[in-house]
């Protein structure tokens, strides 16, 4: 680490464990993923740990596997806005980030919902704009259709453009509340937008919210997605979690900013990250191994294999060798999930070779090839690793994905956060009240951020 470079602050966010096999439901400590209490616990823990924000992912259709609802992972989640607004009542500083699709929502409604969340939380709202959709998800919505990939990002960009225009539409001195003169508000101008996706003319129903614009996150990894993120987002949620891939992605995203007239610090890169702690490195490894076996039970191992093989493999022994039949080429065996393999035959070949070389059973192989644990070690080791990622520009921080609901973050907050603080890489108190303050982002209507401006500490 170069001594001329100022130490970067690590940004941390808490992902509520969701509907995938990372989330271990079979552990006795695993509680409801739907009762409000669970959300309160994780959010308060994150706030106790001085995290930037709490994060909810989204999925608008239940996953299917082999033509039936997938029943092995956690299923069931609540409405994002309802949970975040309710959490605003039991937290004070924590940012509240919701993943909301731009394909099955209308911009006026989203603008109103996010502005409401920002008002009701005192400036803590964030919107993770995703486009992911296909005809499968569309079957739950009246729009009901499939948007081509490029149209999805066109719609996303226009959705954000309209929302921002609406958020900005009340001029600064509109709200008067002059009782004697009998003027509540001056004329609220109509916002007009005519684009390929929307033809809208409306007066917005809310004054500018505390953050001006809720913080915008983006998750989506195609070239279109990256351009949209570089042009629009305040932070990127990414899956590029290894040191190498992280640095490449980081450089790529920051490199795209200049053409949109944006500075290096105006976009934060926040990969998803899992963690396992132990008192010793060996103990952490042992716990990690145990968790991997919980995450990939025998049935889950077969289901993973079926995703690549494209056929029913329920007759195979998860503790036995890989099937000798060839993949069918059908990659739509699992629907409602980000696709596992683009070229199933090549993946099957590679998996077979690996299993033979290392003498792995089906379950052992799946445990190896789907491993996503980045940070395994003692609290000091994990803090060291996280800090290394951030100081060497593989990330600006992480969105942590605990494997347990709702207590999965407790240990991290109790043991890793103090280590990070000791290193001078993490705040010891919140410097401001809004999520923009936490992320060091400037208010959209002002030129200075809290870190550069008068409020810097």
């Amino acid at each position: 680490m170069s001594s001329t470079k100022p130490r970067k602050s690590v940004h941390l966010a808490a992902h509520f464990p969701g509907v995938n096999n990372t989330t271990v439901w079979s552990d006795p400590a695993s509680k409801s993923q739907i009762d409000f209490e669970s959300f309160v616990h994780l959010a308060r823990t994150a706030e106790r740990g001085l995290f930037d924000f709490f994060f909810l992912a989204e999925g608008l259709r239940l996953r299917e596997h082999l033509g039936r609802i997938h029943d092995l992972d956690v299923v069931g989640r609540p409405d994002t806005f309802t949970v975040l607004n309710a959490l605003a009542g039991v937290t004070e500083k924590l940012g509240l980030a919701g993943t909301i699709n731009s394909t099955y929502n209308e911009p006026f409604e989203l603008a109103k919902q996010f502005a409401s969340l920002d008002h009701l939380s005192g400036g803590r709202a964030a919107w993770n704009v995703v486009t992911s959709s296909d005809a499968f998800t569309g079957e739950n919505f009246r729009r009901g259709g499939y948007l081509e990939h490029s149209d999805r990002y066109r719609r996303a960009a226009e959705t954000v453009e309209v929302a921002r225009a609406l958020w900005d539409s009340w001029p600064a001195d509109t709200l008067v509340v002059d009782r004697d003169a009998g003027v509540f508000a001056k004329d609220i101008p109509e916002t007009r937008h005519r684009g390929r996706q929307f033809d809208i003319a409306a007066r917005f129903v809310l004054p500018p919210s505390p953050q001006g614009h809720p913080v915008l996150l983006q998750a989506g990894d195609s070239d279109d997605g990256r351009e949209f993120g570089a042009a629009t987002a305040d932070a990127i949620f990414t899956g590029h979690g290894t040191l190498e891939a992280g640095r490449t992605f980081y450089a790529d995203m920051k490199g795209r900013l200049a053409k949109y007239g944006r500075g290096h610090d105006e976009l934060k890169i926040l990969p998803a990250a899992t963690f396992v702690l132990g008192d010793t490195a060996a103990e952490a490894e042992e716990r990690a191994r145990h968790i991997r076996y919980q995450q990939v039970g025998p049935q889950t191992a077969i289901a993973f294999l079926e995703q690549v093989w494209g056929r029913d493999l329920s007759g195979y022994d998860p503790d036995g060798p890989l099937p000798d039949v060839d993949p069918s080429g059908d990659v739509n065996i699992t629907r409602g999930r980000v696709r596992h393999a683009k070229d199933p035959r090549a993946v099957a070949e590679a998996w077979r070779a690996k299993a033979e070389a290392e003498n792995l059973s089906i379950r052992e192989l799946i445990i190896e090839v789907t491993a996503r644990q980045q940070f395994v070690g003692t609290p000091a080791e994990v803090a060291e690793r996280i800090d290394e990622y951030v100081q060497t520009d593989a990330a600006d921080g992480f969105i942590l994905v605990p494997h347990l609901t709702p207590g999965g973050l407790d240990e991290f907050v109790d043991r890793v956060v103090p280590e990070l603080q000791e290193r001078g890489s993490f705040r010891t108190e919140y410097a401001g009240d809004t999520l923009r303050d936490h992320l060091g982002l400037r208010h959209p209507h002002h030129r200075t951020s809290v870190h550069e401006g008068a409020r810097a500490s």
Partner: protein
């Protein structure tokens, strides 16, 4: 307050139902877009012993221009924000269905039911007129018959989605590795004139099973939707005789629709303004009327043709007497008080001993319905 099976609700329309209410010194109009304002108001209503609070909403600005309080927070958001601060009161945000997706609404209200441990409801509304249609730019303004036909379908979709998970669908069965029993999750396969929705919901069945559905039914096609769908029917009659007649008509319509009239509550709107003395209350009302050009509050959601509505101007005590009289008269199963000036009236509402914390359904003495899909046998969907 009247006896316990008489339902008492309060509707919180910004600073008040009177368009000039924000001009009162005590209106807290500056706070209208803060959580504090709404949480204070809703907890005050809860302390008064009311059974529920209604929260109006729309995608349009309030009519009346600069002299009216303009702007509104999302009502479902307000209800959610107040969830943890309240413990007994039912929360009934309005949500229009004309431009929104029933799938989103279904999970929003079900999630409110989870966050409140069973105190959620939904007042179904429609978005009338060109202004709101242009805010979405998706379709032309519709006639009331079409709007309410669409609303009827939307309620069907929402309530099917609420049932799409059976209560015991989550099994966490270790030996088979199954988190859910997928036989207890159901595609709703709805196909109508306005919507086709596959289901099931992404949200499990909520504490009440079916959160409470309210519909305003003064005239026109909304009445049929109320009769087919509502647990609570709101009407705004000019007097108690008219209330009597409408309730009787609604009850026979419910019978004709094969519904139990005793399982539906008819609530009448009463505009109220309270002060320390009746004289003072009248003076304050006169001041509100002087401030506002028209002197009569435009009533959101109610047909303009209704003309006069029930009003009570007086003290907390005289309101208590009025409510007892309404209860005894049998003209209604409950009331929705609409404070003309929220802060003033809340200050003068009597406080009541805390009611037991129950679900909104239990307060209404309505049974928790089983999922419509749960009783299906031999694979014959209804």
């Amino acid at each position: 307050m009247p006896d316990s099976d008489f339902f008492l609700a309060v509707e919180l329309a910004g600073t008040g139902a009177h368009p000039a209410s924000w001009r009162r010194r005590d209106s807290r109009a500056e706070d209208l877009f803060t959580a504090r304002y709404w949480v204070d108001a809703i907890t005050a209503v809860e302390k008064a012993g009311a059974d529920a609070v209604f929260l109006p909403d729309s995608f349009g600005l309030q009519p009346g221009g600069a002299a009216t309080a303009q702007g509104r927070l999302d009502a479902v958001a307000i209800a959610a924000r107040a969830a943890a601060a309240t413990h007994r009161i039912g929360l009934l945000p309005q949500a229009p269905v004309t431009h929104t997706e029933p799938f989103h609404l279904s999970k929003a209200i079900a999630s409110l039911d989870f966050a409140t441990l069973g105190r959620a409801g939904w007042e179904v509304t429609v978005s009338e007129g060109a202004e709101q249609a242009k805010a979405f730019g998706r379709k032309s303004p519709q006639e009331p018959a079409a709007l309410w036909h669409e609303a009827d379908e939307a309620v069907e979709v929402v309530t099917r989605l609420w049932d799409s998970w059976e209560d015991d669908a989550e099994i966490r069965d270790l030996p088979t590795g199954r988190f859910i029993d997928r036989e207890k999750l159901h595609y709703i396969d709805y196909a109508g004139d306005y919507f086709s929705v596959k289901g099931p919901s992404i949200t499990p069945r909520s504490p009440q099973g079916q959160p409470i559905v309210a519909v305003r039914a003064d005239e026109g096609p909304s009445i049929q939707v109320a009769v087919r769908r509502a647990d609570l029917i709101r009407i705004a009659p000019p007097d108690l005789d008219a209330a009597h007649a409408r309730r009787a008509a609604l009850r026979s319509a419910l019978l004709s629709a094969d519904r139990d009239p005793d399982a539906v509550r008819v609530l009448i709107d009463i505009d109220v303004h309270l002060a320390g003395t009746a004289e003072r209350a009248y003076e304050e009302l006169a001041e509100l009327d002087r401030w506002s050009a028209s002197g009569t509050a435009p009533r959101s959601g109610a047909p303009a043709a209704t003309g006069s509505v029930l009003r009570h101007i007086g003290t907390g005590d005289s309101l208590t007497e009025l409510l007892a009289a309404v209860s005894d008269s049998g003209a209604a199963d409950g009331v929705v008080l609409r404070p003309l000036a929220v802060e003033a009236t809340l200050r003068h509402l009597a406080t009541a001993p805390p009611a037991p914390a129950t679900t909104l359904r239990e307060r209404l003495d309505l049974p928790r319905p089983p999922s419509r899909y749960a009783t299906i046998q031999e694979g014959t969907p209804s």
